[in-house]
């Protein structure tokens, strides 16, 4: 039975990504480790993404507060805004929005960077010079993305909540202490731990997809563009798929 061309291509790519991930784990836990490059990638992926993440997170918290307020005022429970916004941001909006922004910035940059290296045959040259290109390029970037996204999400949550605090203060008056007391009043480990756990998977998805797309870029400038593009699209979709899985798993507890 011959499957349609698109389906075959999709299944082939899925299997290839799985194999690529397997290779990542094989290479990642065996020496030698590219520590210096890893820290550099952490700096680029984590630290340099912070301004963008901070801006979007701040706006997200602020806007969410302003949007929730009218419907809560109808029920006379505007005092619940901090708790509601806190749960929304910590459980869902913080991780997903930050991961999407991260995918847009990091997924595309990794895809384009590795793609252009592939196109200009720098990867092949690396192999010839005795450096393991997979370790040097893929493992460092994917590890950095996996470890940095949770940090970004935590910082983004905090900035979001501060934005929400300012949003609450437009109509009502509250203190930062009261605001955070109310936020944590209804938060539990069940809210924080799954959100924090899934952010590692988001980071890994963004990193591994970016690397795969770049590593397997087709020849020519067009190939670089399409690999950067598809890295963002696939990693964004994967983020939602992982989110769906995460909510179902965390719902079991």
């Amino acid at each position: 039975m011959r499957l349609p061309e698109d389906t075959r291509k999709f299944l082939y790519e899925t299997g290839d990504i799985a194999r690529f991930s397997m290779r990542f784990f094989q290479e990642a836990f065996h020496p030698r480790y590219e520590v210096r490059e890893f820290f550099h990638q952490c700096y680029v992926i984590g630290y340099q993404s912070l301004p963008l993440v901070a801006l979007t997170a701040f706006i997200m918290g602020f806007v969410l507060t302003m949007q929730l307020r009218p419907s809560l005022v109808i029920y006379g429970v505007e005092s619940m805004i901090p708790s509601m916004v806190g749960i929304a941001i910590v459980r869902e909006i913080g991780p997903v929005i930050t991961a999407l922004i991260f995918a847009g910035k990091i997924g595309s940059s990794i895809g384009a960077e590795l793609g252009s290296m592939k196109v200009t045959e720098q990867i092949d040259a690396m192999e010839v010079s005795g450096t393991n290109p997979f370790k040097y390029l893929v493992v460092t970037r994917t590890m950095a993305a996996t470890l940095m996204l949770p940090v970004l999400i935590i910082l983004g949550d905090a900035i979001s909540l501060y934005g929400s605090y300012l949003g609450v203060n437009i109509w009502d008056t509250t203190t930062l202490t009261l605001f955070f007391t109310q936020v944590f009043e209804f938060l539990t480990y069940i809210d924080l731990v799954p959100a924090f756990t899934k952010s590692f998977f988001f980071g890994f998805a963004v990193g591994i997809i970016g690397c795969y797309k770049g590593y397997h870029s087709e020849k020519g400038t067009e190939g670089v563009g399409s690999s950067a593009n598809s890295a963002v699209v696939v990693s964004s979709v994967l983020i939602f798929v992982i989110d769906l899985l995460a909510v179902q798993i965390s719902d079991l507890f």
Binding site: Y43, V151, I154, L155, D157, F184, T188, L192
Partner: protein, 349 residues
């Protein structure tokens, strides 16, 4: 190389900030769940936990002090609730404290309230069992409410009938519409008030009198309070007694006098009864008595004759004038007397 170091420092700050926030968040949540501070465990039994689940808050006097650790069925009438509480509260919760089910707000989460009871008891220790208060059953409450509602409906109907009767009663309306009524009532009240004031002042007077008496002032007071007076009184009574004795003596004397008198009278009697002497003669002689009777009869007859003679003389013309004159003078005298009486009457008026 310097650039690399700056890169590392920035990365370090970035990661540390993230970790610090994570630890802060976990600590904050830990405060809610009492996982990082030391805790004590208390137990209680309920008939019905009404939806209480593990993780619900526990409040002592309105402050969150812990959370429900587990809710499990022991048997068909008892559900065991294990409570995890801050270690600090064991210095405040006593063994006689009562656990009751509550709700956070009207539609909020279930909570457990621990309320202190009056009386002295030792403080709780980990693993202690607290007594629970049976929750107010909403169904039972509604049943009672239903009964109350029915009663109220009946009462309202009765009230309606009564009020209608009031509305249709002309006497009552007349009474209500009477304008003088209220002034009368006000006046009555004023009178009552005045009377009360008077009673009050009277009572005050009485009170002062009583106080005077108590203090021994005034004659009554003296009478009641003066000790010398009672001695005098004693003396008076003694004197009265001697007086009585004397009176008795006098009566005795009088008795003897009367006896003497009796003897005298009987002597006289005897002497009278004796035929000697004129008096005895007069009283005892029957012949004399008959003569006296005869004499009186004669006297009667002669006076009758005289009367006839006198009438004859009146009708006699010689003496007629004299009698007429006499009559006139008599009339005159009578008139003058009448006039005098009238004058006296007028003067009196």
């Amino acid at each position: 190389m310097a650039k690399k170091i700056i890169e590392r420092v920035k990365l370090g700050i970035f990661v540390m900030a993230g970790l610090a926030l994570l630890i802060f968040a976990l600590f904050k949540l830990g405060q809610n769940r009492s996982l990082f501070s030391s805790t004590i465990e208390l137990k209680t039994h309920f008939h019905n936990v009404g939806g209480l689940v593990a993780g619900n808050n526990i409040r002592f006097a309105g402050i969150n002090v812990g959370a429900v650790k587990s809710v499990k069925i022991v048997n068909d009438t008892a559900i065991e609730v294990v409570m995890i509480m801050d270690d600090d509260v064991k210095n405040f919760i006593r063994k006689n404290a009562r656990v009751s089910l509550g709700t956070d707000g009207i539609i909020g989460n279930r909570i457990l309230n621990i309320n202190p009871e009056k009386g002295d008891a030792p403080f709780v220790q980990s693993g202690d069992f607290l007594i629970s208060v049976r929750d107010i059953d909403t169904d039972a409450m509604l049943r009672t409410l239903d009964r109350s509602n029915q009663n109220i409906a009946e009462i309202t109907e009765d009230l309606q009938v009564t009020l209608r009767r009031f509305a249709q009663s002309p006497q009552l309306i007349k009474l209500l519409e009477d304008e003088t009524m209220s002034t009368n009532i006000i006046q009555s009240f004023a009178n009552i008030r005045r009377s009360t004031d008077e009673i009050h002042s009277t009572l005050a007077d009485m009170r002062s009198i009583v106080e005077d008496v108590k203090a021994g002032e005034g004659s009554v007071g003296k009478l009641l309070r003066d000790t010398t007076l009672s001695a005098g009184l004693n003396e008076a009574v003694l004197r009265i007694q001697t007086l009585e004795d004397q009176a008795e003596k006098i009566t005795h004397d009088i008795d003897s006098v009367v006896l003497n008198l009796n003897a005298v009278v009987s002597d006289i009697d005897q002497s009278v009864k004796g035929t000697d002497g004129p008096l005895g003669l007069m009283l005892n002689d029957s012949v004399t008595a008959r003569q006296l009777e005869e004499f009186v009869v004669n006297l009667n007859a002669s006076s009758e004759l005289l009367k006839v003679n006198m009438e004859a003389m009146q009708s006699n013309f010689l003496l007629k004038g004299y009698f007429k004159d006499q009559e006139k003078a008599e009339k005159k005298a009578r008139k003058a007397a009448e006039k005098k009486a009238k004058k006296a009457e007028r003067k009196d008026n």
